[in-house]
């Protein structure tokens, strides 16, 4: 799983000092724990021979030292390892952001279903756990195994090999057995968990539909079907874990039993050596935790593996653009010539040989059924998509050549502008980070939010999502409008900014928009005719082709279909 990996291996090279100390302190914790029982055992055995007090002075001091050392090392180990993991997490977060950033214009479309974005952020959490619960404990247990084998080897290498074998059962055989039995089950549990989430969301969000059916039994059965399966599978996992822990504990218990026999035989020579027997028998007990952690941590390996696979599958998007130019000071006209676009050769044409010219300061309304190319046209104008044929030019220069400085030319307001969970001021200032507080205040007045915001407890510093206060749809659009006013680009693209608003709010927002955007070139995609009469040109886009185009007043006079739609919208049909 680490082959071609770009998410774990590079990070293991970061902060090597911290990483070393995390692992070293982990080993030291258990050394101190074992040494406490070892010296205590020796102390008592030796004291029973009633030597002079001075003789037991050293073991007495050591006993106290190890007694204090164990909790101190453990405390430091936990802090160090968390610190290392969190430092690495910051790198992982930035990296995930950067990979997704290469596809910024389409990140919502490409990652929409099931909120994949938050799943990706969960994956980073899984990698954190992989370090803390699987990798670190395994390395620590491995280190202890080596130390114990070497230590016993000083006395009797054959017995040392036997203990090594028993320890390898703990850190290799038992975890391997666990993976063998549990991998499929864990993956299934992950799937069931996702399905249970969907089922329960369905149940809760569909409650009004369910309520009027009066099928309570079926509702409970359907909503709990997957969670019941999940509970059954978790039950099996638990049953296995306990059986595994039992077997592991028996093998572990064999070590002190063997030590008792071996020490009785090996150290029975003189009373001086016999004093060591208690020490050797007791040393293993405090180490059991170090070894049982391994099987548990490795047991979650399938989860870590899927998380890592997800992350490794993310590839940065690359796009070839022509040589980039500086943005011009002024634009006289935007020209769409013979423009065609389809995603690939087999799919239907979303834009079909379109020609269009919008002069500076003109307002163009774009109408048409949904899914018929309106948004695609805006994406082509922006340069987020490369045309299959034809071009969009600003005074003869292809828009694709202005991508680096695009924000100086284009501003965009879409259906659901994103407001970041920060203050109103910061949200508006995203449009131009050098804007002064007075500039922000001016645009907020322009969009008629100044009064509302002045009434908030913290004014412009109020977070946009603070509990108990939320902006309505119309107000969110006004905030986003303030943001693009601050951006002050000559061409503004509006992608159905009033959809879903009631007609009163809509009219007020349209009035504001046309007032503050006077003088700018505007391309406005809309779903009905309210406000269209304020535009210089109207086009109807159907299946990527123009089916109607002209001045609103002319269409009203000459076009039957336009009149019918107008009458419908005005409430006369």
């Amino acid at each position: 799983m680490f082959k071609n990996d770009t998410w774990v291996r590079p990070d293991l090279r970061r902060y090597k000092n911290l990483l070393f100390w995390s692992l070293a302190l982990g080993v030291l914790t258990y050394i101190a724990a074992g040494a406490l029982m070892f010296t205590s055992g020796y102390l008592i055995d030796f004291a029973a021979t009633m030597p002079l007090f001075a003789a037991i002075y050293v073991p007495v001091v050591l006993t106290r030292a190890f007694g204090i050392g164990r909790p101190v090392f453990q405390y430091l180990e936990r802090l160090t390892s968390h610190n290392w993991v969190l430092k690495v997490t910051s790198h992982m977060r930035r990296k995930l952001y950067q990979v997704l950033e290469t596809d910024a214009a389409f990140v919502q479309e490409h990652h929409q279903t099931g909120d994949i974005l938050s799943l990706l952020s969960d994956d980073i959490g899984h990698i954190q756990n992989m370090y803390l619960r699987a990798i670190f404990p395994t390395v620590v247990a491995g280190g202890l195994t080596v130390l114990i084998t070497l230590g016993l080897g000083l006395f009797d290498w054959r017995f040392a090999l036997w203990v090594l074998l028993l320890l390898l059962i703990q850190i290799v055989l038992i975890p391997w057995w666990g993976l063998l039995i549990e991998t499929k089950r864990k993956l299934r549990q992950k799937e069931l968990n996702q399905k249970a989430y969907v089922d329960l969301t369905d149940a809760v969000l569909g409650l009004s539909d369910w309520a009027i059916t009066h099928r309570q039994g079926q509702f409970v059965d359907e909503a709990s079907a997957t969670t019941t399966k999940l509970a059954a599978s978790t039950h099996q996992s638990k049953m296995f874990q306990w059986a595994r822990d039992f077997v592991a504990a028996l093998f572990f218990g064999a070590i002190p039993a063997c030590l008792m026999v071996w020490a009785s035989w090996y150290f029975a020579g003189t009373q001086l050596t016999a004093d060591w027997i208690g020490a050797f028998v007791l040393v293993m007990f405090p180490l059991s935790m170090a070894f049982s952690n391994v099987a548990q941590g490795i047991g979650e390996w399938p989860t870590y593996k899927t998380a890592l696979t997800h992350l490794n599958e993310l590839k940065p998007t690359t796009r070839t653009l022509p040589a980039q130019l500086a943005a011009p000071g002024a634009v006289k006209a935007l020209t769409v010539s013979d423009l065609a676009f389809q995603y690939d050769a087999g799919s239907e044409a979303l834009i079909d040989h379109l020609n269009l010219t919008v002069a500076a300061g003109q307002k163009l309304a774009i109408l048409g059924p949904s899914g018929m190319g309106k948004t695609t046209l805006l994406q082509l104008v922006l340069g987020d998509l490369t045309p299959t044929k034809g071009s969009v030019t600003l005074d003869g220069v292809n828009v694709l050549q202005y991508q680096d400085q695009r924000t100086k030319l284009f501003a965009v307001l879409d259906q659901s502008p994103f407001l970041f969970n920060t203050s109103i001021l910061n949200n508006v200032r995203l449009g131009n980070e050098t804007a002064s507080d007075a500039d922000v205040q001016r645009v907020l007045e322009d969009v008629q939010l100044a009064e509302l915001i002045a009434g908030l407890p913290k004014g412009v510093n109020t977070p946009v999502e603070e509990a108990g206060f939320g902006f309505s749809g119309g107000e969110r659009q006004r905030l986003a409008l303030a943001r693009i006013l601050l951006q002050d680009a000559p061409i503004v693209l509006l992608d159905e900014p009033t959809v879903g608003l009631d007609s009163i709010t809509e009219q007020a927002l349209l009035d504001t928009m046309f007032r503050v955007l006077a003088g700018k070139t505007v391309l406005w995609v809309t779903h009905h005719l309210q406000g269209v009469s304020q535009c210089d040109q109207v086009i109807f886009l159907e299946a990527g082709k123009l089916t109607m185009a002209g001045k609103p007043a002319d269409l009203m006079e000459q076009n039957e279909r336009y009149r019918r739609l107008y009458a419908l919208d005005a409430g006369q049909a």
Partner: protein
């Protein structure tokens, strides 16, 4: 620590008694394990013949195995009980959610309810298991060991006894500090993780503003700032387990040293000292294990409380004696007098609404956003229930406290602004009210709703999976699917619409309207809207403002005489006024 409500769970007392018995047996087995180990060491120390050691090794092995086996058995028994209890709670919770209806989603939050049913139930199960194992351990095992150690060596026994409350005290003191800190940290974690997801969701906006590349540095800085906060919190939070470890290991060291000195002076023999040393860590083991699971215990307790709180909510009961409606015919009436409703913690709602609706009336509810149109519609549908013990509704003359009546709701179809699409096939979505409908009926309903052309473009047709994790569909398509769902169940004679065309483009809306209007015939249609053209199809209009009904009547009457109506319509018409 033990929630009293736990003891009231069916079968809890029996299972606790049984497991306590096993814990007691286990305590003696642990004693046996310590005894054989100590005796074996003494035997070897005295350099007696090696063959004699086997008795002690065997004794140790038997006790050790028995101890592990009892742990296993106790886990299995506790889990069996906890799983059954949690499973029953799960079903009760879902049944309760159903009985409470959509209002519960509004008050508790959708995400909360889903998390409660998905994660809260396993956490509750875990909590019950922890109580049955770890807490019983702590209440039984240390005390058996302590009595034995005390019998062997008074001083060690007293030292260990004193240490126990000291550890508890420090755990409580540090636990409080850690809890405050970790609550802060949890809030911080939430905001951090939200902030990160926020920056991913807002990527497009950042790109449009031309700052998406620089923002990567911000992502890193925020994460680093969070790390520093977390570390300062962890320093305190981890002190609690440090204190526990510290006192436990230090008291083992102290006991060892005291006994060493006693042995040195000949006041003590080896066996009692050795057995006390071996049992001392076992004495502390249960409280240390409990400390490690302390947070899981707290989470479980909170999760269980949340579930039990929902289970304790009162359910609206249908009025007795309401005769089954056989159909909604011309003579049927629904009226409301002095109807009031307020959302908890908010000012908005419906105040003193009065109206009478008959048979196949077409009723529009109009008014500005937030004027209470949806609330009124939800009250009529029975999804919300008016407060108090009054009976504001009358159906065919029967006084009713609320409309959550099966006899009424069986005749309802409800189509909201954004109808909910279930994560299943299109056909199953359409069949929702009538799971037994034939394929032909489904095809007919789908055709009536104007979906046939779209379905032809889908390779899997009606079997295409939609909803969460399925194929994405537009707002218009979702509306049409909801329409087909309604059309399939012809016996539903009352249609409630909540701004069903707000998201549609004008031509799609016109097409959908052409489908709908003929089907309004013989049905009671109640339609909340802010599109003017629907008023042409209505024969009664209720005008709302700030939760009150400010005018009602036929459109023609209102147009002629009602000032609130004229003003509202003028405002809704906006610039269309000018060019009339």
């Amino acid at each position: 620590m033990i929630d009293k409500r736990l003891l009231r769970l069916p079968g809890m007392r029996t299972i606790m008694t049984m497991l306590a018995g096993l814990a007691l047996v286990q305590a003696f087995v642990i004693l046996g394990q310590g005894h054989f180990l100590a005796a074996g060491i003494v035997h070897a120390w005295q350099r007696k013949p090696l063959t004699g050691i086997w008795v002690f090794v065997l004794g140790f092995a038997v006790a050790y195995t028995l101890r592990q086996a009892i742990t296993w058995l106790r886990n299995v028994i506790a889990e069996r009980f906890a799983r059954k209890t949690a499973g029953a709670l799960q079903r009760q919770l879902l049944a309760k959610m159903y009985a409470l209806g959509p209002a519960v989603a509004a008050t508790e939050g959708t995400g909360n309810l889903v998390t409660m049913a998905l994660d809260g139930i396993p956490e509750t199960q875990n909590y019950i298991e922890l109580i049955l194992n770890k807490i019983l351990n702590m209440m039984i095992i240390p005390w058996v060991l302590l009595v034995y150690i005390f019998m062997q060596q008074h001083l060690a026994g007293i030292a260990l006894l004193i240490m126990f409350p000291v550890i508890i005290l420090f755990m409580i003191i540090l636990g409080y500090a850690a809890r405050d800190e970790s609550e802060k940290q949890y809030a911080g974690f939430q905001s951090m993780s939200n902030q990160f997801i926020d920056s991913l969701r807002g990527l497009k906006t950042l790109q449009l503003m031309g700052i998406s590349k620089q923002y990567a540095a911000n992502v890193y800085q925020v994460s680093e700032r969070y790390r520093k906060q977390t570390m300062s919190v962890l320093k305190i939070a981890m002190l609690s387990s440090f204190a526990m470890d510290f006192f436990a290991t230090l008291s083992i060291a102290v006991v060892a040293v005291f006994m060493g000195i006693d042995l040195l002076n000949g006041r003590l023999s080896l066996y009692p000292a050795m057995v006390a040393l071996i049992l001392a860590p076992e004495y502390f083991m249960p409280i240390r294990e409990f400390g490690n699971d302390y947070h899981a215990t707290l989470n479980g307790k909170n999760a269980m409380s949340a579930v039990l709180a929902v289970l304790a909510q009162p359910v609206p009961t249908p009025t007795e004696g309401l005769p089954e409606l056989t159909g909604w015919d011309h003579g049927a009436t629904l009226s409301a007098t002095h109807l009031n409703f307020t959302y908890p913690g908010r000012q908005t709602g419906v105040t003193d609404a009065n109206f009478t609706l008959h048979g196949g009336q077409k009723v529009a509810i109009i008014g500005p956003s937030g004027s209470g149109k949806s609330t009124l519609l939800n009250l009529i549908g029975g999804f919300l229930q008016p407060a108090g013990a009054t009976t504001p509704f009358r159906a065919n003359g029967h006084p009713l406290a609320h409309m959550a009546q099966p006899a009424w709701q069986d005749h309802l179809s409800y189509i909201p602004q954004a109808p909910y699409i279930f994560a299943t096939s299109i056909a199953d979505n359409v069949r929702f009210y009538r799971p037994d409908a034939s394929d032909d009926d489904v095809a007919a309903a789908v055709d009536q709703a104007g979906l046939t052309d779209w379905l032809k473009t889908l390779p899997e047709g009606l079997a295409t999976r939609i909803g969460e994790g399925g194929r994405g569909i537009s707002g218009g398509q979702a509306q049409r699917i909801a329409m087909a769902r309604t059309l399939l169940d012809t016996k539903r004679q009352v249609w409630l619409f909540d701004e069903p065309t707000a998201h549609l483009d004008i031509e799609t809306e016109a097409a959908l309207k052409a489908t709908l209007v003929p089907l309004f015939k013989d049905r009671l249609v109640i339609f909340a809207t802010h599109r003017l053209h629907w008023l042409n199809q209505m024969d009664w209009v209720i005008v709302m403002a700030a939760g009150r009904v400010v005018a009602q009547g036929t459109p023609a009457d209102l147009q002629a005489h009602s000032q609130p109506y004229q003003e509202l319509v003028a405002e809704m018409r906006g610039e269309f006024n000018v060019q009339k």
